[in-house]
């Protein structure tokens, strides 16, 4: 028994490297080094002892490691080894005090941190250059080592077919990578997200301060506190930057109003803390706790929004599915096609929807009544629905939604089929391609604009990500949503 090598390497690789690092630095003696060695050995032993089943074994391994605090013990010992090497906690012998040497040591440390930042980005860029197809081979090897645990029968033909599919996909990706290298490159994203120069600039400012004529170590240490330069060098600017990017991402995806409002409040909080903060940089813990309070306040309303929209969407989909199941086009329609295999299984699923989704719909409507004293029609005045339409996320067209509310809903009665004329109307919607929201493409434009703003004009398309500047051809005749007419007209009638 043992964890798969890929899993064990992933979890223990960092610690193996840390042990190797101290050995290469000649720090391989003393109690703390021995603690590192013993702790890593214990982790290796647990990896050997673990169940090879990925889910069971990894969970067991992590539980053991956490309960024995092995990561913490190892990290702690590692810190002490390095600290001792640097002559850490011992007070300097001030009889030999050499201010110039000490200041140089501090500035060299800062120069080293700049090197580390630059190296980190270069390492990420080098890693990114590796071919994506290599990961297919790694995945295939993992599959073949653990096929039984993953539930495959390696004696069956389907297993060979599955391996061949992996090879085929790898070949297709390899070809695509050659023809469209930018689809797979993250170089531009790495350049932007590392914010290398923004992190380095305050460190360089500190070094420049340290190099001023007449500078001493204590003066340097005092000035960086007084000017807030120590906070800047910790990367405090990145906090606000992160909040701004988060808002933009949420405004592109628009999951719900509450989450967007919450993120705007995070930024307002940061900006409100700046004037009163020593040296204009809010204390990171105080900001974090104040931010948590905002999250705590919003959490119930976010939970309510998600709970309600989830049920509303299911109700609309159930009603739609019930009437679609009766049409002559059902076999080729979503949600059955292409997800349910053709033939028997798909026919069975459609027959079930025809017979039972009216009964299922009624129970689901009863549930939103029990929970929130709402019925089906109340959905269409609710802020969650309005949000979905305004953000172009709602998948149905207005005309089809009106059909569902005014004509299908009233006749959705358990044990009864819809009348022939309703079925024929539904078929006509399908033939004329009037069911889907023609403005859904605007979501793709939001994603594209948000992405390009962050990573450069044209980058979204360069990465091969799909977007549309207008509706599909077949949707060009579908009227766009007009909530005013919908709510003042249709809902009043129904």
């Amino acid at each position: 028994m043992a964890l798969d090598a890929m899993m064990a390497d992933g979890m223990l690789g960092t610690y193996r490297n840390m042990l190797k690092e101290v050995e290469e630095k000649g720090l391989n003696s003393g109690e703390d080094y021995e603690t590192m060695k013993a702790t890593l050995q214990r982790m290796e032993d647990l990896a050997e002892e673990a169940d090879p089943d990925m889910m069971v074994g990894v969970n067991w391994f992590n539980g053991k490691v956490m309960n024995e605090n092995l990561y913490g013990t190892f990290g702690d010992a590692y810190g002490r080894v390095l600290n001792s090497a640097a002559g850490g906690n011992e007070a300097r012998d001030t009889d030999d005090y050499d201010d110039g040497a000490l200041l140089k040591q501090v500035l060299d440390g800062l120069r080293g941190s700049i090197d580390a930042i630059r190296k980190g980005k270069q390492d990420a860029l080098e890693e990114d250059k590796k071919s994506v197809t290599a990961s297919y081979q790694v995945g295939k090897e993992y599959l073949n080592r653990n096929a039984k645990q993953l539930g495959f029968d390696t004696s069956k033909k389907y297993y060979d077919d599955f391996n061949k599919e992996i090879d085929k996909s790898a070949e297709e990706v390899k070809q695509d990578e050659l023809e469209n290298p930018e689809h797979y490159s993250n170089a531009k994203e790495i350049e932007v997200m590392f914010m290398e120069e923004q992190f380095i600039a305050p460190i360089e400012a500190l070094i420049k301060l340290g190099e001023e004529e007449g500078m001493t170590l204590p003066k340097f240490l005092r000035l960086q506190i007084e000017r807030g330069m120590d906070k800047a060098a910790e990367g405090s600017f990145a906090t606000r930057e992160g909040l701004v990017i988060d808002i933009k991402n949420y405004n592109a995806s628009l999951p719900n109003a509450r989450e967007c409002e919450m993120r705007a409040e995070f930024l307002e909080l940061w900006d409100s803390m700046v004037p009163d903060a020593p040296f204009g940089v809010p204390d990171s813990l105080k900001f974090s706790l104040a931010r948590r309070k905002i999250e705590h306040r919003f959490a119930p309303s976010i939970a309510e929004w998600k709970a309600k929209w989830s049920r509303f969407e299911t109700l609309i989909d159930t009603l739609d599915r019930w009437v679609r199941a009766h049409t002559k086009y059902a076999m080729g329609m979503d949600p059955w096609c292409p997800f349910i295999p053709m033939g028997g299984p798909r026919e069975k699923a459609i027959a079930y929807s025809k017979a039972c989704d009216n009964g299922n719909f009624k129970v689901r409507e009863e549930l939103i009544g029990e929970y929130w004293d709402l019925d089906f029609k109340d959905i269409f005045n609710h802020e969650t629905f309005i949000w979905e339409v305004n953000s172009h996320s709602f998948s149905y067209s207005q005309v089809y939604t009106e059909f569902l509310i005014n004509e299908v809903y009233p006749i959705c009665i358990p044990l009864q089929d819809p009348p022939k004329e309703i079925i024929e109307k539904c078929e006509k919607f399908y033939e004329d391609k009037l069911m889907s929201n023609p403005e859904w493409y605007k979501m793709t434009i939001r994603f594209k604009e948000c992405y390009d703003e962050q990573f450069g004009e044209g980058r979204y398309e360069e990465k091969g990500m799909e977007w549309f500047d207008g509706p599909h051809d077949h949707q060009k005749n579908t009227p766009v949503w007009d909530l005013k007419s919908f709510q003042s007209g249709v809902l009043q009638q129904s």
Binding site: Y97, T216, K286, P300
Partner: protein, 217 residues
């Protein structure tokens, strides 16, 4: 020529000033003040070595105590009593500690332990999975043709078994972390969970009764 001793005094005074008057960092201020006082009492730099002692380590420990108290108060105010356990234990164990390494080890151990406690607490939200209960409601209450009634009865029974299976799987997953751990659906009535259940109490009580009936927990 610079007066190194005075410059060190100025530096340590600024360090203390960072926390002066800040009600959230009283111990940090005291500790930094002690460092500044030690430095200010020197008439030669060489005296500082002896006067420093472990004041710098105590300053680091003080910072841990202040931040842990801030977190503990914060979680207590929000009635997040499980999240409060981590900083509470850190405070108890770090009081009186003299070395920063020991304090950091305590912080790591207790933070790890608390993250496991939080996971064990929060996976029980919504009685494990509210949607399983709804599947049961639909299957057991929907009026369907006689040809499908047995299938619906089977689906309703399957929903009950699915909840039990889910509870058993979660309990099995948690054994390596805490031997003997069991699901406790009653915790859904505690404020940190209850406030996130957007359903009337009657519905919540109904789910609790169903969970007990189907799983014995």
């Amino acid at each position: 020529m610079s007066d190194i001793l005075q410059e060190y005094k100025d530096y340590y005074n600024v360090r203390a000033k960072r926390y002066e008057g800040d009600p959230d960092y009283p111990k940090s201020y005291e500790a930094e003040k002690a460092l500044a006082d030690a430095m200010n009492s020197c008439s030669e730099l060489s005296e500082f070595k002896d006067k420093l002692g472990n004041l710098n380590e105590l300053s680091a420990v003080a910072r841990i105590l202040d931040t842990s108290l801030m977190e503990q108060k914060h979680f207590n105010e929000l009635k997040e009593y499980v999240r409060e356990l981590g900083p509470k234990r850190i405070l108890e164990k770090c009081q009186g500690q003299q070395g920063v390494t020991e304090a950091i080890t305590t912080v790591q151990e207790e933070s790890n332990k608390n993250s496991v406690e939080i996971s064990m607490d929060e996976i029980q939200r919504e009685f494990g999975d509210w949607f399983i209960f709804e599947s049961y409601e639909v299957s057991s209450r929907a009026i369907v043709p006689s040809a499908y009634q047995q299938e619906h009865k089977n689906d309703a029974e399957a929903a009950k078994k699915e909840l039990l299976k889910r509870y058993e799987a979660l309990e099995a997953d948690m054994q390596p972390w805490e031997d003997g751990w069991r699901m406790n659906p009653d915790i859904n009535y505690e404020d940190r969970h209850f406030r996130l259940l957007p359903y009337p109490k009657e519905s919540i009580d109904n789910r609790r009764a169903q969970a007990k009936d189907w799983t014995g927990r």
